[in-house]
Amino acid sequence: EADIYQTPRYLVIGTGKKITLECSQTMGHDKMYWYQQDPGMELHLIHYSYGVNSTEKGDLSSESTVSRIRTEHFPLTLESARPSHTSQYLCASSEFGSDEQYFGPGTRLTVT
């Protein structure tokens, strides 16, 4: 079934650890996005990609990095997690030429 997956769904980790949030989609979409959302606040675009080997920074400055080596995979990495990174991270994808974005279930990250 075509879908967009995020793992882990919940993560509690200590300060200074390196973490990678996984996002995969089986929808055949070219474009993928990462959003960050604090409780009760806006979703902020932090990274996006038009396709393989394409990555761009979004509106909100983020210490995270992304890669797009395969069309279906768009992982987000934090080299050294800090409490300020505590947030929900949403991954989305869209077909090239379409404006509808499909969202994953999100990863709720807590850095202690």
Partner: protein, 109 residues
Amino acid sequence: AQRVTQPEKLLSVFKGAPVELKCNYSYSGSPELFWYVQYSRQRLQLLLRHISRESIKGFTADLNKGETSFHLKKPFAQEEDSAMYYCAPMDTGRRALTFGSGTRLQVQP
């Protein structure tokens, strides 16, 4: 930079009452606007887009360029409409969305 404002964090109405969720934007150029919705324990999903001028689940939204608004309306709210609603203009250059802070609609029986 684009900005979008949803002034109400919470809107509570009774079943059968009219609903209007407000959205104001600042944008240079011709905007494309969307409403996304998140029901309890479900993912964020597209509700409607202004260019299609469609009615989805009884909701409509009209783009008012003079007032720079894109309010979401429904004449008779249903309990199943209870959800979080986000207004989202699109940056037509990057084809990326800017989301508002959202309005929680609570429809009481």
